[in-house]
């Protein structure tokens, strides 16, 4: 039961993200071929673990705020590179050992969509 609740909340976010892109006229597959369970897991990691530095609401902490208006001048591919390689000289670690490149790209798109920003 608890597991179900855990999974449902992030999945609802995934659903709303996909719907938003479709409305915006996006034609590519938003999932980037990542299955639903893994997407839910990635969202959970973003909220909870990225959240340790960037804030659960992504308003920042030791790391900067990741609200979409602050990411406007960077495209998803660039953000994905930052996620994968980190930012040398800062506490932002390279996530490449833990993420596929397409997963980082999917996360970057989630960030730009603002569905996690509160």
């Amino acid at each position: 039961m608890l597991k179900a609740v855990l999974l449902v909340a992030p999945l609802a976010l995934v659903a709303s993200f996909s719907a938003a892109s479709v409305k915006g006229g996006g034609v590519e597959d938003d999932t980037l071929g990542i299955d639903g369970a893994r997407r839910a897991e990635l969202l959970y990691v973003m909220e909870q673990d990225c959240g340790s530095c960037h804030g659960l609401t992504l308003r920042g902490g030791l790391g900067p705020s990741l609200h979409p208006e602050l990411l406007a001048d960077r495209n998803a591919a660039e953000l994905a590179e930052t996620i994968l390689d980190g930012v040398p000289g800062t506490p932002m670690p390279p996530w490449r050992p833990l993420l596929e490149p397409k997963e980082a790209l999917w996360m970057a798109k989630i960030l730009k969509s603002g569905v996690l920003a509160k």
């Binding site: 909220e47 909870q48 804030g55 609401t57 308003r59 902490g61 833990l98």
Partner: protein
């Protein structure tokens, strides 16, 4: 929905309300607070008031804002918990009545706080904007505002009604004497090292030690010989080893001298460093399961308990402080975020975020004796902290 189902739900609701009232009424009875504590529920912005004599949850307090990196200090009468929220909220919670006694949003983004030696002042360190603000512990009215151009970290209290903190961006340590609350006297130490990320003060209030993220080493200020300024200790630990990614910053708060040695998390190395407190030099390092986050000593100093950064955060390891060997590895579940010992350490409570559980573990047998349900639990803070310098 049929009638029986409706009736069932109704009865459940009645039971729930009755139990809540039982919890509330407990707070009205005459009782002490020395075996109470709070558990932060990080995602829901709530706090559980718990009792460690009976391993029970007494009540839940809601409406504390973003608690994603919340920490807590206590009033010296063990009654009020001051909760420092990530969203800049400072909340004074009455754990006897389960009510919020006062609350203020004091900045955009804060990281932690401290209470003064005399218990009259509460200080908060901030990320955005930087600086430290000092409040009246009774009313939460602003007493002093100490702006900085940097994020402030590692804020602790020190004897002489002083607060000490570090400047993350500028690499400085500031000592603020609050003897006259209206006119804080600030002593600044520059060039202490790159990116101090957290700090601690030893239990005797003598040594303030800041961990450095930007280099392998720590900056130590001897408050009994403050004119000497900060000294570098553990310089170049892990030299020659490849630095590993750090997916969660270590904390220095649980750092305690155990058996004459201090046990501290390395940064970017999966090991716990052993420091001789006489010479302040590294005398050993213990390879661990992952990047250590909290390295916490039992009150008796016999064992040190360690949790780890993502993705190894499902594990706890226990180090014997005499042999300096890992004697136990356990896997409570994903997201073991924090541990707290009972006042004399016969049990340890640990929050297991992803299971939505608090585990109570017997420190002699390592057996789990109780599981409590909690919503994304993180920090656990018992009232014994009220009488400790630096906590």
């Amino acid at each position: 929905m049929n009638m029986w189902a409706r009736l069932g739900i109704f009865l459940l609701a009645v039971c729930a309300i009755t139990f809540m009232q039982v919890d509330r009424s407990q707070a009205d009875e005459l009782r002490g607070t020395g075996d109470l504590g709070v558990v932060v529920e990080r995602a829901t912005g709530s706090l559980l008031v718990v009792e460690n004599s009976t391993d029970t949850i007494l009540t839940r307090i809601e409406g504390l804002g973003d608690l994603s990196h919340a920490s807590v200090v206590y009033s010296r009468d063990d009654r009020y918990a001051y909760v420092f929220g990530r969203d800049g909220g400072l909340t004074k919670v009455d754990i006897l009545t389960g009510q919020i006694a006062a609350r203020t949003i004091q900045s955009g983004n804060s990281i932690g706080g401290a209470i003064s030696q005399d218990g009259s002042l509460v200080a908060v360190s901030n990320y955005t904007p930087g600086g430290v603000k000092v409040f009246d512990a009774k009313t939460l009215e602003l007493v002093a505002d100490i702006p900085t151009a940097s994020k402030t970290v590692g804020l602790v209290d020190a004897p002489g009604n002083r607060f000490v903190f570090s400047l993350y961006d500028d690499g400085e340590i500031w000592v603020v004497d609050m003897s006259d609350p209206k006119a804080p006297k600030i002593t600044k130490f520059k060039n202490i090292g790159l990116q101090p990320y957290d700090a601690l003060i030893t239990g005797d209030g003598r040594y303030y030690i800041a961990g450095l993220f930007g280099e392998d080493g720590m900056a130590m200020l001897d408050l009994w010989n403050i004119d000497k300024g900060p000294q570098r200790i553990l310089d170049g630990y892990g030299r020659g080893e490849e630095k590993l990614p750090v997916y969660k910053m270590p904390h220095l708060e649980g750092w305690t001298v155990a058996n004459g040695k201090a046990f501290v998390p390395a940064v970017g190395h999966h090991e716990v460093l052993v420091v001789d407190m006489e010479t302040m030099t590294e005398v050993g390092h213990i390879p661990t399961h992952g990047q250590p986050v909290f390295v916490m000593s039992q009150p008796d100093g016999r064992h040190v308990w360690v949790n780890f950064a993502y993705p190894k955060n499902d594990t706890i390891q226990v180090i014997d402080t005499v042999t300096q060997k890992i004697i136990k590895t356990m896997t409570p579940g994903k997201g073991v975020l924090h541990m707290e010992f009972t006042p004399r350490g016969e049990k340890v409570w640990m929050s297991v975020r992803d299971l939505n559980e608090i585990h109570v573990v017997d420190t002699a047998t390592f057996e789990k004796t109780k599981i409590l349900k909690a919503e994304k639990p993180s920090g656990i803070f018992f009232t014994w902290r009220a009488g400790r310098i630096g906590l």
